[in-house]
Amino acid sequence: MGGGPLSAALLVAALRDPASVERLDAAQWNGLIAAARAERLIGTLAVRLEGRAVPETARPLLADARLDAGREARGALWEADRARAALASLGVPLVLLKGTAYAAAGLRAGQGRFIGDLDILVPRDQLDAVEAALFAAGWEWVKPDPYDDAYYRRWMHELPPMIHATRDRMIDVHHTILPLTARQTPDATAMIAQAVPLDDDLHILSPEDRVCHAVAHLLADGDLAGGLRNIWDIYCLIADLPDPVPLEARARRHGLLSHVRQARRLADALYGQRRLRLTSWDRIVLRRLLARDGWGRETRKLLRFAFFLRSHWLRMPPLMLARHLWTKWRKGHRPR
């Protein structure tokens, strides 16, 4: 099959320098749109390009994406409000994470952002009470698979995903930052202690912890699927730090210093001034992040698969990994 140009590179260039789209031909526009949809950055791109001279035929689909993002944010905030109501009687500090947090606080990272599930962080010793309160308010388990359930409860940093029976929206209840099997152990208790209150009993992480949390999920945990969006988040969150100095100390406290530094280099290389010096490992990661062709398809399959293996390797010790992959394989799961 023919490959075509790397559309992810067009996407990154358009986010970095919106004026660059004025030079694109129709084929490149198609690649740009396909990559932005595949990376779930179409809303972010549409907001970035608002008011720019774009071709007549691209305008309606960008307007659609902006409308979608607006409705998405409204739905996400309503969901956060419902979780707040469900947990109000517990007196538990409810900390919003990721997209919902960015939307609630009106951060740049939230502008046009795709928001999937509601992610919240609660103190680990309150987990049983939180689970019971969510059940009472209409949430239920998504996949009642005994292996997955036991796996989540024993090893993961969050409860198995729950879905609301009537609103059909998912909630991820985090109690720590990374899976308990990961090598880094960011301090969730410290993050909750430093959380910043918004209105209505909702909180978001401190500016430094927002960066640390986004970085932890990108580099310590993930196989970098959706990495372009995560790094856009990180780029915006770093740019919005009121004071850049305390970040390193905070990252060190969470055991994430090298990861935060790498994320800063990657964000600079993709979306920033491209002034920071890259390591050869950075370059491999960038190759992985930009692996998408003009049809929005994933390319560099072997490299992707290597990152998929790596993500599991980082997440769990070898024997446990072997057992996990064997169980999943027998259940018919295949990496795509």
Binding site: A26, T57, W295, G296, R336
Partner: protein, 287 residues
């Protein structure tokens, strides 16, 4: 991808890429008289990919995806490649379209007013629209009716009509072979043959018109007509819409306006001829 084509159907443009030339050859022939897209920037990308590494040659199978896709979609035989391409385009509309409220319904127009017909697969709405489209009505679409959020008009999405099973015999005999796609036997929905809408349906595909009557047809029962109340119509149309929830308040407002202005009936009929007589009678009464 190796093979590609761009199409415009009503307000939507598609870029369809395929690992094989066959499905796109059929598309090119059947959509030959549709107006070309304004430029090559498409609203949606559709991809007909190999369903597995060896599937180009060994029992060739297509995985349908694109800007919007379903991870667990069943692969389709290359012999049904035209159907796969059509399903790929429908999938983009169903999951992605936001410029109208999308109703899973067929629609036809006469004298500047639109008849909308909705129902489950097998209800006869598609066949009925195809038959009316051959008998003096302008066919607007057999799959999706587009309800404008601002004006309340219905807009057309006149893709190929997919005739199924017995409907193929009813209609295929009366139209020239140039308007028919290949016979696709043994698909998940039985035998399917695609029909190109008449030239007027294609030439006027950008024209909307106000809706005047909504029918819930049901094939295979003795003739019967029952009015359907506004509340029930509203609920049934929310279920027949793929983007009602995604549109939020504008979708609610458009649908409210539709059900308060458009009379609705459920109709049962045992055969196509009786259905057409019934529709013409109800249409005359509604105007």
């Amino acid at each position: 991808m190796t093979h590609a084509i761009s199409l415009r159907i009503g307000p939507a443009t598609f870029r369809v890429g395929s690992a094989w030339p066959g499905p796109l050859r059929d598309l090119a022939r059947l959509y030959a008289d549709y107006p070309a897209p304004l430029d090559a920037i498409a609203d949606y990308t559709v991809r007909l990919e190999l369903a597995g590494w060896a599937r180009r040659w060994v029992r060739p199978s297509i995985f349908i995806t694109g800007d919007h896709g379903l991870a667990d979609a069943a692969p389709m035989s290359l012999a049904h490649g035209l159907l796969a391409a059509e399903m790929g385009m429908n999938l983009q509309m169903a999951l992605g379209w936001r410029r109208h409220l999308l109703l899973h319904a067929s629609s036809v127009e006469k004298d500047g007013r639109v008849l909308v017909m909705t129902g489950e697969s097998g209800s006869g709405k598609s066949t009925l629209a195809a038959q009316l489209g051959e008998r003096g009505w302008r066919l607007m679409g057999d799959e999706f009716a587009l309800l404008d959020l601002h004006s309340g008009d219905i807009f057309a999405f006149p893709r190929l009509i997919s005739l199924k099973n017995r409907a193929i015999d009813v209609i295929a005999g009366d139209v020239p072979a140039s308007r028919l796609g290949p016979m696709l036997r043994g698909t998940a929905k039985g035998d399917i043959r695609h029909l190109v809408p008449r030239a007027d349906a294609v030439a006027r595909m950008d024209e909307g018109a106000p809706p005047a009557l909504l029918l819930f047809p049901r094939f295979g029962h003795a003739v019967d007509v029952r009015p359907v109340a506004q509340g029930e119509t509203f609920m049934r149309l929310t279920q027949a819409s793929t983007n009602y929830v995604a549109l939020g308040e504008p979708g609610f407002a458009a649908l409210t306006r539709f059900v308060t202005h458009v009379p609705a009936c459920a109709i049962d009929f045992p055969s196509g001829d009786e259905a057409i007589a019934l529709v013409e009678q109800l249409w005359a009464e509604a105007l």
